[in-house]
């Protein structure tokens, strides 16, 4: 069969005059997605405060123990259970260890666990849920049944099994988080994808021949950012608490290393006598979580394309 092309004559075209060209031009310099997000985040004071808190806590966690004159495991029985003074701003524990340096050291463990949990959530959870939602049909069915199975097995069982194989410690906590923490996120992302993929702009993208990958990453996920960020901010504190619980039953970090959760747990017994031993690590957890929540809240608004101006 012979293809017949429409013959176009040059005369059919004419130059656009300058006036008309200017009318169609944008009035603002174009911004990338992230530049725009940052511009909007800057305006949200609470979100900025959250960001500052997180940065300060992170810096203290990294450099604090290096600067402090005390080691986190340095015991001094002569100074046991001292109330906060200038040389020990948070006081000392039963062994005469400086609580300030222990809280800063604990931040390393707790924050790293929060970080690992969020990375796992963002990568595995989002991609898994996204693919399941986008592909649909049999693929979705199989992927979601796997999620159901993982969801129904209690975390404790993984942990105990892992303990037998690789022993206790941070590594097994990371792996446990890796196995179980993305499951909730995958479900939420899937349901969001199912909803968004019915919308007209996705249809438009499909009609234009956009690749599946691009549709997922550039069109669907930005629109699902709200729920994703909310789940993420909630999963970080939950990971920190999970670690505290695991350490308490002997599956987490082992003494003298101590995460925030362990510090809180250890000081509960002396709450009536030395309340400051509980107060400082608990305050550290609260402030950090507050920071994450403020930032998460701000990010959700900043990332939502519907609120874009």
């Amino acid at each position: 069969m012979e293809t017949k092309y429409l013959e176009l004559d040059d005369e059919l075209f004419e130059d656009v005059n300058k006036e008309e060209k200017l009318k169609n031009e944008c009035l603002q310099p174009s911004l990338t997605y992230w530049q725009d997000t940052w511009r909007r985040l800057k305006k949200d004071k609470m979100a900025l405060a959250g960001l500052v808190i997180i940065i300060i806590v992170t810096l203290l966690a990294i450099f604090g123990p290096l600067i402090s004159p005390y080691e986190y495991d340095e015991q001094n029985f002569d100074l046991s259970n001292q109330a906060p003074v200038l040389s020990h701003p948070f006081g000392t524990d039963q062994f005469g260890r400086d609580i300030f340096v222990r809280v800063m050291y604990g931040a390393r463990i707790s924050l790293s666990i929060g970080l690992v949990a969020s990375i796992i959530n963002l990568t595995i959870g989002v991609i898994y849920g996204g693919i399941a939602g986008l592909k649909g049909g049999a693929v979705d069915n199989i992927m979601m049944r796997i999620v159901d199975i993982l969801y129904s097995i209690p975390t404790m069982i993984y942990v105990i099994l892992l303990m037998v194989i690789i022993g206790s410690g941070l590594k097994s906590i990371y792996i446990t988080l890796g196995i179980s923490y993305w499951v909730g996120m995958a479900r939420i992302v899937r349901s969001e994808v199912l909803r968004i993929k019915q919308e007209e702009f996705i249809l438009a993208a499909k009609v234009l021949g956009t690749s599946q990958r691009r549709i997922l990453l550039r069109h669907i996920l930005p629109n699902a950012m709200g729920p994703i960020i909310v789940t993420l901010t909630l999963s970080i504190p939950s990971a920190i608490f999970t670690e505290a619980f695991l350490s308490f039953i002997g599956l987490g970090v082992s003494a003298p290393k101590a995460s925030w959760g362990v510090l809180v747990n250890d000081s509960i017994s002396s709450l009536s006598l030395f309340p400051y031993q509980l107060f400082f690590p608990a305050a550290a957890i609260c402030i950090t979580i507050l920071g994450f929540n403020f930032l998460g809240d701000g990010l959700r608004d900043a990332l939502d394309p519907k609120l874009r101006k």
């Binding site: 029985f77 039963q94 005469g96 608490f241 002997g250 082992s254 003494a255």
Partner: protein, 556 residues
């Protein structure tokens, strides 16, 4: 909209704080007993029953007399069973139990026990000498796998029967008639009556035990006993309810109707329960609270015949070298440890046996009549020298070893302190792992450890009992210490009739043990307990058991 969500996030943080508090105390909800409804139920009764609620602190692994080897199990057993002799509550010496008298042959190897008339089990069926024999034979039966069988080796052919070299008929336990039992011994045993009064050689009801050899001691239906109390209810991991045994021969001196043994593991929860009058007695006071409670006079301290020690697995490198073991022992400051960490008025260990046992000189204490083996403060120089001799100068090349302990705040605190002392004084790193008690005894029993925390109470008021632990292949010899010289000394001392020579031999035994140091004594146990002032007559023995036989509640 934005404001709302900020308020929401603040609320979330508060909610998280709340979960934090709840999450950390999750044990409370599991184990707090609920005596309230019961008390109500009692009030509805026309006759008010008297009850003492005591905290046993842990679910006993078993209350089968042949299998039990833990103090919590022993407490239950002593209150529900009674042997031929029982323990006198005034002086902790053996007195007449279900046997009203006994004759001892001149050479000390034949005991004839005369049982009381009309003895009955707690279900009302008659108890005879056959039942006592059955209980003793069960301990020696190799199929029972009793970890205390070696205590009964002194019975004629007891060891041979346990090892399969003699038949049951050869064992020196003979029923003469329904009320007479004769026990023949291999050799005279100076503490045999203590052994008889102990929680091992007790009568058992053959038919219920044979019916379910493993499970009979778990179910109140099948726990048929013959002591002052019987098990009425057992809610596992919550409480054991004992009631007065109406068939006990001495039931008139049992004044309390019920004893509820609750299992609140967490010391703080237990303390709260005590302060709110939910329990009358507790001994697991959190160590941090002890100094204040002792000072105010609320808590009482009693010395116990028990030693808190660390086991070294001598099968594993580097603990196969006695110099390493001694260096580790020398590097810890026991005085500081008991003063700052345990805080229970304990005495730091200066040898293996605790204070409180008669020595060579009848008027002296076995512990204090010889020079201390261990300094109460650290001797770092000597420790470093020994470690260097063993090939680890300043801890160089010393492998990172794992230390195991059973989950408890006190064990953790002691371990953390010792870990820091070893690191600071010797440059040795150890890692700490904790396990639940039942898992812990299993792994340590299988030798799957390098260093492990352990403690042991003397079984009887006798010098030999703690030294018996370290005889080669002894069932509780977790360090796998094997030394023929030590064994020979222990056997010689065990059979020695003369108490002076016997004590001298035991000093030699201790010399050898402290020279090899398969275990590192740390301190001697004390028991710090809280007891409501209206509870009278309860006895706390220096061997770690609580007796409710003569307890009563004083009316206000």
């Amino acid at each position: 909209m934005k404001k709302k969500s900020q308020i929401l996030s603040v609320l979330l943080v508060i909610a998280m704080l709340a979960t934090l508090a709840v999450g950390c105390n999750n044990k409370e909800t599991n184990t707090t007993p609920t005596p309230a409804p019961e008390k109500q139920a009692e009030e509805n009764n026309t006759v008010e029953e008297s009850i003492i609620v005591a905290n046993l602190a842990a679910e006993p692994r078993t209350i089968d007399p042949a299998i039990n080897n833990a103090a919590d199990g022993s407490t239950v057993i002593f209150n529900i069973f009674e042997g031929l002799a029982r323990i006198n509550l005034d002086n902790d010496k053996p007195e007449e139990g279900i046997a009203e008298k006994w004759d001892i042959s001149d050479d000390g190897t034949k005991y004839t026990f005369h049982l009381r008339e009309n003895l009955k089990w707690s279900d009302g069926t008659p108890l005879t000498a056959e039942d006592v024999k059955y209980g003793i034979m069960r301990v020696l039966d190799p199929n029972t796998a009793s970890s205390y069988a070696y205590h009964a080796y002194c019975i004629k052919n007891g060891k041979a029967y346990y090892e399969g070299n003699a038949s049951a008929e050869d064992v020196g336990v003979n029923v003469i008639d329904e009320n007479t039992l004769e026990i023949n011994l291999e050799y005279p045993v100076p503490y045999f009556m203590d052994l008889v009064a102990w929680h091992l050689l007790l009568p058992l009801k053959a038919d219920v035990v044979e019916n379910d050899p493993d499970g009979w001691s778990q179910d109140p239906e099948t726990i048929i006993s013959n002591g002052p109390f019987r098990v009425k209810e057992w809610k596992h991991n919550e409480y054991i309810l004992l009631e007065k045994n109406p068939y006990y021969w001495d039931k008139d001196s049992v004044k309390i109707d019920q004893v509820k043994l609750v299992m609140i593991t967490d010391g703080n929860t237990s303390l709260t329960a005590y302060k709110t009058d939910k329990i009358d007695y507790m001994a697991n006071i959190p160590s941090i609270q002890i100094p204040n409670l002792v000072e105010s006079g609320d808590a009482k301290v009693v010395d116990q015949l028990g030693t808190y020690y660390y086991c070294f697995n001598v099968d594993k490198k580097p603990f196969d070298d006695a110099r390493v073991r001694k260096a580790l022992s020398l590097a810890i400051d026991r005085q500081a440890l008991v003063k700052t960490i345990t805080q229970g008025k304990e005495n730091p260990a200066i040898g293996f046996l605790p204070y409180g046992l008669t020595g060579v000189d009848k008027s002296k204490d076995f512990r204090t009549e010889v020079d201390p083996y261990i300094d109460i403060n650290a001797n770092i120089e000597k420790a470093k020298k020994l470690l260097a001799e063993a090939g680890y100068p300043d801890g160089e090349g010393f492998p990172e070893v794992a230390f195991k302990y059973n989950t408890s705040e006190n064990h953790k605190a002691v371990a953390e302190a010792i870990q820091a002392m070893w690191k600071k004084n010797l440059g040795i790193n150890i890692s700490l792992t904790n396990q639940e008690w039942k898992v812990f005894i299993d792994t340590v029993g299988q030798g799957d450890y390098e260093i492990a925390r352990y403690g042991y109470f003397s079984d009887f008021n006798d010098l030999g009992s703690l030294f018996d632990l370290w005889v080669t292949d002894g069932p509780n010899n977790y360090p796998h210490y094997a030394c023929t010289e030590y064994d020979e000394l222990v056997f010689a001392a065990r059979e020695e009739q003369d108490s002076v020579k016997r004590a001298e031999l035991y000093h030699q035994v201790e010399d050898k043990l402290m020279e090899d140091m398969p275990i590192m004594p740390i301190y001697y146990y004390t028991k710090t307990y809280l007891l409501k002032s209206h509870v009278k007559g309860m006895h706390i023995s220096p061997l770690g058991w609580e007796f409710f036989r003569n307890a009563y509640i004083e009316q206000k």
